[in-house]
């Protein structure tokens, strides 16, 4: 029987007996980089994803570790690339909403709205006030539904479970409302150039009010359950800090930008639809860490609920769509229209050369800016914080890859 030691010596793992100098690593073992106090340290490349429960879609992060600490991080994306921008060049203007639904698929209304606003801006269509109100109403319902998904999964990232079930309970109520109004739970195709698909069904007003009346209390409960948890606070406070200048330099928008202390909200500063009629506050963070982003989003849900009530109370009479031709043919020109989606500024840069399809349809995705900022802020954090920092920024891979 062969001795294990002999085999090890033979394949070069061990130096032959008597030849090994104890001050040197054994022959055949790769010499590690010089470490502190003779400890060997070696950088380790860890691959996270693309299939990983905490990457919120199909994101692959390649992180280089020095022990538990991140030295560099690189995002590898494209796993959800469907070529939405190219496909849009082959769709009529009415059908662009269906593509946008599949971009940011958790808050589809905002994408549809951005594309509809761009077409209306180019064609100079006046839409009825009621359509504006319905758009805002649906946007805010969708924003709460989307933020609840973020809230639930952000807690999961930190290791908590209960809040996810409660968040999904409330979201289910909202998704049912959206389904009753639009006919679909996520892929709505409700906002069309010229107005919206349909009026609120009978009894919907009462159903939304029922949700709205209870939601502020539920939200407080959610916050106490997760944000009031000391373990959660210890894990999110002070990590993933994006200072004001970096946030601006990396082009962040939405809650991520406001968490870093820049009070810019497309709804307020570039008011579209009926937002000029709405009364709402724009919450702003101070340090730009994960906790600030958490607090900004929680407050945003409260403000959205405020706006839902204002929409229902102020809902004008009249039609819900303008008279527009079946086939839209905007004049040649170029416009940029943006909305405040759940993740930030979703913009559509539309180039038309006449004709019934866009010449160029560019989808400005807010999450893409976050992803490049992540590569910058992750180094220096611990491996365990990666999923939490990603979770705190609420990125959506569907719109990053497009």
């Amino acid at each position: 029987m062969t001795d294990a030691r002999d085999i090890a010596t033979e394949v070069g793992m061990l130096a032959p007996e008597g030849t090994h100098d104890p001050g040197l690593p054994p022959a055949g073992i790769r010499r590690a980089p010089e470490g502190v106090d003779g400890l060997t340290t070696e950088h380790l490349i860890i691959n996270m994803g693309p299939q990983h429960p905490s990457t919120h879609g199909v994101l692959r992060m390649i992180v280089e570790m020095d022990g538990e600490e991140i030295v560099s991080a690189e995002a590898s994306i494209g796993y959800l690339h469907r070529g939405i921008e190219k496909l849009a060049e082959h769709r009529r203007y009415n059908a662009l909403g269906t593509l946008m639904d599949r971009g940011d698929y958790v808050s589809g209304i905002h994408g549809e709205l951005a594309s509809a606003l761009a077409v209306e801006k180019l064609m100079e269509i006046e839409i009825p006030r009621k359509a504006d109100y319905l758009r805002v109403l649906l946007s805010e319902i969708n924003r709460i539904a989307s933020h609840l998904v973020w809230f639930g999964t952000f807690g999961l990232d930190t290791g908590a479970m209960g809040q996810f079930l409660y968040a999904m309970r409330d979201r289910e109520f909202l998704v049912d409302i959206l389904e009753s109004i639009t006919g679909s739970r996520m892929m709505f195709n409700y906002v069309r150039p010229g107005g919206v698909l349909a009026d609120l069904p009978v009894g919907m007003d009462a159903q939304i009010r029922e949700f709205s009346d209870g939601f502020d209390a539920y939200l407080q409960e959610h916050h106490e359950l997760l944000g009031g948890n000391e373990i959660f606070q210890h894990r999110v406070k002070g990590i993933g800090t994006i200072d004001r200048d970096s946030a601006l330099a990396f082009g962040l928008s939405g809650a991520n930008l406001r968490g870093s202390g820049v009070a810019f909200d497309v709804r307020r500063d570039r008011a579209y639809s009926a937002y000029d009629d709405m009364e709402f506050d724009v919450p702003v963070g101070s340090t730009g860490d994960a906790w600030d982003r958490y607090m900004v989003r929680m407050e945003e849900m409260r403000q959205s609920n405020r706006m839902i009530r204002q929409c229902l109370d102020g809902m004008p009479e009249g039609g819900f769509t303008a008279k527009v031709p079946k086939v839209l043919r905007p004049p040649a020109g170029e416009v940029y229209a943006a909305v405040e989606s759940s993740r930030g500024e979703t913009g559509i840069h539309l180039v038309s050369q006449g004709g019934d399809t866009p010449y160029r349809f560019h989808y400005k995705a807010p999450s893409l800016a976050v992803l490049q900022a992540l590569e910058e802020i992750l180094p220096g954090h611990l491996l365990a914080d990666v999923v939490m920092i990603i979770g705190s920024t609420d990125i959506m891979l569907g719109e990053i890859d497009r």
């Binding site: 690189e74 994306i77 494209g78 690339h81 070529g83 921008e85 190219k86 496909l87 082959h90 801006k121 180019l122 601006l248 330099a249 990396f250 082009g251 928008s253 820049v262 810019f264 500063d269 570039r270 020109g333 170029e334 416009v335 940029y336 500024e345 913009g347 840069h349 180039v351 010449y359 160029r360 560019h362 400005k364 893409l368 800016a369 992803l371 490049q372 910058e376 890859d401 497009r402």
Partner: protein, 153 residues
Amino acid sequence: MLPDATVVKHILAEAGLADTDVQETTLGLVCTVAPAEVAPAFAALKDSELDFVMLVDLMGTDTGEDIELSYHLRSFTRDEELHVKCTVAYDAEIASVWNAYPSALMPERETAELLGLTLSGHPNPKRLLTVDGVEPLLRKSSLIRTLQEVRER
């Protein structure tokens, strides 16, 4: 919301870019420069009193003859927006603007990949969305249907 065209012209002239074309279009205020002038123009606009601190986005369009790059700048102190455009030839090499605006890092990679351009001065000029060998998808010459199918649609 729109910056004063004469102020923009003046700032660019001080940076050595005389007679820049600044026009108000449906897009907003659009300033057209040569590809080599993009970097000095951005440096000047960023440090000027207009304070364009953010590059919101950039994109490229295949116009049929060349590729038009469009940059979207925003100033928060003055709440103004400006679009900067330049035209480059097919397969041209474009200089990265990430030194002035790090937010250009990924959109530039995407634009270069989908329109068949080469990046210079970029820290990580790899492809972003697709794998090697995929043709530049956003070129008009790249078809998702055959011409026959497009006509019969």
